[in-house]
Amino acid sequence: MKHRLRFAVGKLFRMALLLLGVSILTFALMTASPLDPLQTNVGQVALGSMSQEQVAKLEAYWGVGTPPVERYLGWLGDVLHGDFGTSLLYRQPVLEVVGQRLAGSLWLLLFAWIISGILGLVLGVTAGATRGRLPDRLIRGYCLLISSTPTFWLALLLLLIFSVWLGVLPIGLSVPIGADAASITLADRLQHAILPALTLSITGVANIALHTREKMVDVLNSDYALFARARGESELRIVLRHGLRNVALPAITLQFASISEIIGGSVVVEQVFTYPGLGQAAVTAGLGSDMPLLLGITVITAAIVFGGNLVADLLYGVVDPKIRRGAARE
């Protein structure tokens, strides 16, 4: 138990170090940008008509002119006190903006994550168990097709079919246009979340299914599977008793590694469906050079991804006794 604790603490320390790295990298990239925040947000014409003092005030607001290292250290100090700064575009604290946006995205992400995980596992195991035959070919073909399809185009296609042609689902946003907050029901929210969640799930399945299939094929070609067959166990029993247990580890890895992909996908999907979530905020912040917001979103996203990896690492030990001892020895 003590070893497990030390393992977890070591991982947490590494995670903190990685987050620091992410924040430095993001900050450096945004500072290196030749794009002038004043030009993008205020505009050439408006700038020309302003007095010197006004321009100077705006420059101070957007942080032009302060040396980068000083700015970064100031930001880092504030973050350690729990203050991520104020979004320049939304004029609200970054944490508030991220909180609101994340609440909108969370259901979307969670739904897509769970569905793609379960469906990917089922499809992968099925394909592996029937390797070379029709179900396997169909599933593999589907996965190849989906992984070659850009997410945003799939989103456009679904939008075209369900919203424009059939007219059964709304075009975008997370609530009906013009409705006041009190009259919005859960059904409304669900209806608006169906298409984005569906798009994310469809694309998430391919990767998980393909990798699970590879692993399943390996298991079924192994000596112990051969021995089980010789003992007269049915193929179904072999898959359920030997296959699933051995596929569990890579499945956990894939499932938690897919968090990053799903968040990345949500950036694009939310843009197509104009769904007010975290991804859309990231695009807005990026296009408008809103440094504090983009920095906050990147760091928080990375924290979620690293947290997922940490959970996966800890789950290995729960699932596999060999790793439990191995990790203790580390």
Binding site: L17, L18, G21, V22, L25, T26, A28, L29, M30, A32, S33, P34, L35, L144, L145, S147, S148, T149, P150, T151, F152, W153, L156, L157, L159, L160, V164, I171, S260, E261, I263, G264, G265, V267, V268, Q271, V272, A282, V283, G286, L287, S289, L294, I297, T298, T301, A302, V305, F306
Partner: protein, 274 residues
């Protein structure tokens, strides 16, 4: 049933895929002028015999625009995948062959890059480079090397224990010579398949980032630009603006993916004889 030889069928597939991709690339370059040509006498035409992909609201021929866009995408994909694969090769070898310290630095870099979702990272790098062509190429090239680097690192780790490498070390061959003369040759299959399998990702991410507005500027006939413009006209029923360019992109990416998959199966000793 006739027994098909997988090696032969793969060879044909490679010839076919390379021919199609080369044709699209060349056609796109040749049609670049035509893709920009606008003619308001023929705007918003449905797909017909003369314009198989229809025309847009400025009367531009969508077939020409799509081909030009695909051509641009393929060229960007080739460039970025090549750069990315080379970074992966160097990182992987440095990590596995240059001692513990180098290894932990490279692993930290890999974890760092993998921790930020790809799209977000490409966006950030693109912003740092001032968007445009340079931004996209740098962004995609600098963000896709991680998984291949891991594969190569693992491979080199195994190779280090191989008898012939150990023998070379005992014979006093310098480290750099071992890497160059004994390891690189061995890594080539992994490297090549990794390189080809990078294309689909590179092309898709380039299109996505351009679609979001962080990539190629709207004057360039890029697939991402075409599709993001088509979004504005979707609700008015101009479905062909989004449908055909998208399908063409999927086909191109699919060809690359199939190519990589087949070559991987052939080069991998475990499955080469199946």
């Amino acid at each position: 049933m006739k027994v098909t030889n997988r090696r032969r069928s793969t060879l044909w597939l490679i010839v076919f895929a390379v021919a199609v991709l080369a044709a699209v690339t060349v056609a796109g370059i040749l049609l670049n002028g035509q893709a920009m040509e606008s003619d308001f006498a023929r705007k918003n035409l449905m797909p017909c015999l003369e314009y198989p992909f229809g025309t847009d609201w400025m009367g531009r021929d969508m077939l020409a625009r799509t081909l030009a866009g695909l051509s641009l995408s393929i060229r960007i994909g080739l460039l970025t995948a090549a750069v990315s694969a080379c970074i992966a090769l160097v990182m992987g070898i440095v990590s596995a062959a240059m001692g513990r310290w180098a290894d932990s630095v490279v692993c930290f870099c890999i974890d760092l890059v993998m921790g930020i979702p790809h799209i977000l990272l490409v966006m950030l790098i693109s912003i740092a480079c001032g968007k445009g062509f340079l931004g996209v190429v740098t962004g995609v090239a600098l963000s896709h090397w991680t998984s291949l680097a891991r594969v190569i690192r693992g491979e080199v780790m195994q190779l280090r224990q191989a008898p012939y490498i150990l023998a070379a070390q005992k014979l006093g061959v310098r480290r750099w010579d071992i890497v160059r003369r004994h390891m690189l040759v061995h890594l080539m299959p992994q490297f090549l398949t990794g390189l080809i399998l990078l294309f689909p990702h590179a092309i898709l991410h380039e299109a996505s980032v351009t679609f979001l507005g962080f990539g190629l500027s709207s004057e360039q006939p890029a697939i991402g630009v075409i599709l993001s413009e088509s979004m504005r006209y979707l609700t008015t029923g101009k479905w062909w603006l989004a449908l055909f360019p998208g399908i063409s992109l999927v086909i191109v990416v699919l060809l690359f993916a199939l190519l990589g998959e087949r070559i991987r199966l052939l080069l991998d000793p475990a499955s080469a004889q199946e």
